[in-house]
């Protein structure tokens, strides 16, 4: 490692390398449980498509594919800045690293704003079957309710994870203000990056599964 970059050894570890690998393993195990969670939802979407192709297509045509695609590009770009932040952390360059993390979180906020606008458009088009007091737009197609409900479950669950990710990235860049942060906790940036890239990965699956394949 270059000067000013390192890991402060905790007493339960025998080496900095063991500590780094343990942190990465812990995050990967957590992310794999998250993958299992989202996978059940993706399987449900594909099964719905097989059982009710007409209803799913009718509902999917109401989704705003351009917003979904734009949001995918936003998240891919945020992952670019997160990767750059990790590279900068390994070089011990704190200030540009923090800037990249702020941009990463900012793009996450942009994603949420676009998602909020999409929900607003869905609401305006009466694509909210879970509101008993509001008429549903595809009333003659009951099976489409299942797909629309699943769309909200998947995208809102992803939004919750993204919000946690924004908080995590901002907290980490705030902590990195302390002098010598990278000389003691350099591995934390890469571990935070793992979580952020995973959120990106989940959306990369969400976009074709919900927006594109069912058209």
């Amino acid at each position: 490692m270059p000067d000013g970059v390192g890991i402060e050894l905790a007493e339960q570890f025998s080496s900095a390398r063991q500590q780094k690998e343990t942190g990465e393993l812990g995050m990967w195990v957590f992310l794999l449980t998250e993958l299992m969670l989202f996978s059940t939802l993706f399987v449900s979407a594909l099964i719905l498509r097989m059982l009710h192709p007409g209803a799913v297509t009718a509902a999917a045509l109401h989704l705003k594919m351009w917003i979904g695609g734009l949001n995918t590009a936003v998240l891919i770009t945020s992952s670019f800045f997160m990767s750059l932040a990790i590279e900068l952390s390994r070089a011990g360059r704190t200030s540009p690293m923090r800037l990249c993390m702020v941009v990463t979180a900012g793009l996450g906020v942009l994603f949420l704003c676009l998602k909020g606008y999409e929900y607003y458009r869905d609401y305006a088009e009466h694509m909210t079957p879970f509101f008993a007091w509001r008429p549903y737009g595809l009333l003659g197609d009951p099976a489409s309710r299942l797909f629309v409900d699943l769309y909200y479950v998947i995208t809102s669950l992803h939004a919750v994870h993204l919000t946690i990710g924004i908080g995590l990235v901002m907290t980490m860049q705030h902590l990195a203000r302390a002098p010598g942060f990278l000389s003691r906790h350099a591995n934390r940036i890469a571990i935070t990056g793992l979580y952020w890239h995973f959120i990106d990965l989940i959306w990369i699956i969400v976009y074709p599964t919900l927006y594109v394949l069912n058209r």
Binding site: P2, D3, G4, V5, E21, E24, L25, W28, V29, L31, L32, L35, M36, S39, T40, F42, V43, L46, I47, M50, L51, M65, G69, T72, A73, I76, T77, S79, F80, F81, M82, S83, L84, E87, L88, R90, A91, G92, R93, A190, G193, L194, H197, F198, D200, L201, I204, I205, Y207, P208, T209, Y211, V212, L213, R215
Partner: protein, 98 residues
């Protein structure tokens, strides 16, 4: 401080960004221009390639210790088993007419 140039630090994230954006463009173009037929195979292939790029390069699976690589590969393998068994059931089940 490291002697690494900004250009060398930018290289890998930039290449990953270009590859992911190109694949996103392909998925979106196929979905918008030819939404019917068997093009879903190409869409899924592009999505699979994007996932592989994120896992291998953004999440740096190749840089991790062998035990971490083992866990991550087994995790995706387990998900593939769950997907495979479930979809085989539905794909081969005959549904009686109502």
């Amino acid at each position: 401080m490291s002697g690494r140039s900004v250009l060398s630090m930018l290289l890998k994230p930039a290449l990953v960004w270009i590859a992911l954006m190109a694949l996103l463009g392909a998925i979106s173009a196929i979905g918008a221009l030819v939404p019917r037929g068997h093009w879903w195979v190409a869409e899924l292939a592009c999505a699979g390639a994007m996932v592989a790029i994120v896992v291998l390069f953004s999440m740096e699976m190749w840089r991790h210790a062998p035990i971490v690589r083992l866990f991550s590969v087994l995790g995706f393998f387990w998900v593939a088993i769950l997907f495979g068994l479930t979809m085989v059931d539905y794909a081969t089940r005959s549904i009686a007419p109502q």
